[in-house]
Symmetry: C2
Subunit: 420 residues, 2 copies
């Protein structure tokens, strides 16, 4: 081995190993989870809670149905008692369209026209569908032989009881949940506050897309990945722009993090061992506490996780591929956990590889962009093409150098696939 460049050691103290805290992927997950504090709650009307996370069980305010309801268009009758003469004629006394209950009690031997969804009046014992009767001179004549066991009356609370749990706590509310809650009289739901997530892309080479890059410059593209993730997990994103590889700019940023009361701060870039990779230095100088500053995984080894006051801080590397892998594997799940989502680490499934895989360097866990599909009852996965968007990450654990076609591998679903 050649002797390391002296200069490097001066520039990059963490490279000496003294301050290097490299965690496994699992340990990194645990450490993040241990640091995660749940956010405050807020009570909101139904219109405002789509994709928000329930704090606790949401109960039915009203039963379903909330009144005895006709399930057919026809006539609701009050049957005569058995002792009476058995003539199947009932006098039609009124009409009950949906939404308009009858004030009176139905007398024995009388009928009311009723529509599907109509409110069965007190005394009503059965709904006779139109096709099972004939209307004549203000009376209906019922075809006894066609009468079915069903009374075509859905009793109050027969579908959902009052007080029943409609949605458990820790669930992201979908449109279907909202419809269910509304129909059971729920008007407001207590949900977890949205995490406020600030992010900055660092790099003196970066310019915004609108400016257009000069020679040696690059368009800042990670902000799209960061913004996209924050939206996908229901956070509130604060795009703090681009800053240069300059310690003072970083220190100013971290000072702002403290005053802005961000729940989470994410940077990209500046995480390597280079002279201009100053994120960790500035973070520590600003009072940040490093939990880990490396992870035994590729891509994404150069990640710093720590806390700055009450703010969780993720320092991600610059390459977009590493950014998207870490956002999905660690940052997104942390944002979900803060909102109380249950089982929020990237959902793992097993799928059959659609092609052979040879791993050149199998020293650490490798995550590859994958495309997960289902075919004839099998879950299949393949590497995503060069410009193809994957929908999962294929895990290739250390130690195994090759995988055969059809072999079962573990797969992390991409956050968008897990949401909801």
């Amino acid at each position: 081995m050649f002797v390391s460049c002296k200069t490097c050691i001066d520039y990059y103290p963490s490279m000496t190993g003294k301050n290097k805290k490299t965690f496994s992927f699992q340990r990194a997950q645990q450490a993040i989870l241990a640091t995660t504090r749940q956010l405050t709650n807020e009570k909101l009307v139904l219109d405002k809670v789509r994709q928000r996370i329930t704090v606790s069980d949401v109960l039915a305010v009203m039963p379903q149905p909330s009144f005895d309801e006709s399930t057919r268009d026809g006539f609701v009758i009050r049957e005569r008692s058995v002792s009476e003469e058995r003539v199947n004629r009932y006098k039609v006394v009124d009409e009950i369209p949906a939404g308009k209950p009858l004030g009176n009690i139905l007398a024995p031997g009388t009928a009311c026209r009723i529509m599907t969804g109509g409110c069965v009046p007190e005394g009503g014992t059965r709904v006779v569908p139109y096709e099972q009767c004939v209307e004549q001179n203000g009376q209906i004549i019922i075809d006894d032989s066609s009468l079915q066991a069903s009374t075509f009356i859905l009793k109050t609370g027969s579908e959902i009881a009052q007080g029943e749990v409609l949605v458990p706590g820790g669930v992201a509310l979908q449109a279907g949940h909202l419809a269910l809650l509304a129909s059971c009289g729920v008007q407001t739901v207590t949900v977890v506050a949205r995490p406020i997530v600030g992010y900055v892309c660092t790099g003196s080479e970066l310019v915004s897309g609108a400016d257009g890059p000069g020679n040696g410059q690059k368009v800042s593209s990670n902000s799209f990945l960061l913004g996209g993730l924050v939206v996908a997990v229901g956070g509130r994103s604060v795009d703090m722009g681009i800053i240069r590889d300059n310690e003072q700019e970083l220190l100013d940023l971290f000072a702002k993090v403290k005053t802005d009361e961000l729940d989470v701060m994410i940077t990209t870039g500046g995480m390597g061992p280079g002279k201009y990779d100053l994120v960790e230095k500035a973070f520590v100088e600003a009072g940040g506490e490093v939990v880990f500053n490396g992870i035994s995984m590729r891509p994404g080894k150069s990640i710093l996780f720590g806390t700055l006051g009450k703010t969780m801080f993720f320092g991600l590397p610059g390459p977009p591929h590493a950014v998207s892998t870490l956002l999905n594997g660690l940052v997104g799940p942390a944002l979900q956990a803060m909102q109380g989502v249950k089982g929020s680490w990237p959902r793992r499934v097993q799928a059959h590889l659609q092609h052979q895989v040879k791993v050149k360097r199998n020293d650490v866990l490798r995550l590859k962009d994958g495309v997960l599909t289902m075919e004839e009852g099998r879950s299949l996965v393949r590497f995503a093409g060069r410009l193809e968007m994957g929908n999962c990450f294929i895990l290739l654990p250390p130690g195994q150098a090759q995988y055969g076609e059809g072999e079962l591998v573990e797969v992390h679903l991409a956050i968008a696939l897990c949401a909801g």
Copy 2:
């Protein structure tokens, strides 16, 4: 058979069979697709196109990388020609941080400090990583034995060529696409306009959640399903509220549809054979053309599809379960097709049933809410629980009365699972 009630025939002309156009699910899909016209286009900046659909191939404006780029922190050197004396010492003449290209041409035998992502100057032939050299008195001495085949220079366009297709037409843009487009210098994208989708819940029994239902009344809940679907497929929703089972209100609504230039109008309720089920009557009176007014499928048999001027019209039944099934199976795919999404009918997969199924009435296609999961490389599906939100619909075609555990069945993925 008992004779049908005369009154019914007067009230419900469509029940006579004369005007009944009942389609199979497949034929309904085809009919809707045949009616679908693609929307206009609009050119938008990258910040505004998340989840929007590309009109045509989006090409790289700049290659990737857009300059010869160092892949290591180290020194870029201009190697001496072979004829020259082979001393591995190079004079360090300058420094090239990321974003700051060197103006001059690198002379033979000289070196420049360079960072990962830095722009390799003209003349530079190789980057020597820090760990493969020693810096001494303004020179670097290179460890020949540790030199690798790689020059650690990523050549211009080696990852993505200028003019290469980054995203094909007909694709919903995800965050990853936007990052890719930005990095290749794309600033604007031409996307399909968002469909403007109006919807109304009909029913004299309906009240809004805020009002709270009186006896015999129900909270209007379908608007959450309608709004949720429109958001999921990228449409612009126009909630037109609740209207009563009253022909004039319906006629007023259809008049408004014509003047408001809605792309799609959806109603729920009022689609049965009852006296107050007036949607079809009003639609036809308002000049609407019925394409079909029934579908041989449960739930959801009572659906009307037609056109009113340039507006596509879906008259859905009232029960939320039927509404969600039809939104997923027919309305959502139509909204996606209008935006040019390719293969936009609900994505079908096959999965193994996790339990036996017995179908009581197997006369028509039945769709059941299902929960699709993956386990040990197999795709599994089961009926969703009573209050559980499914993520798919299980197809039970007519004719088959029972299914064994483990049997392969066809499944439609729910729209949210298909998006992106």
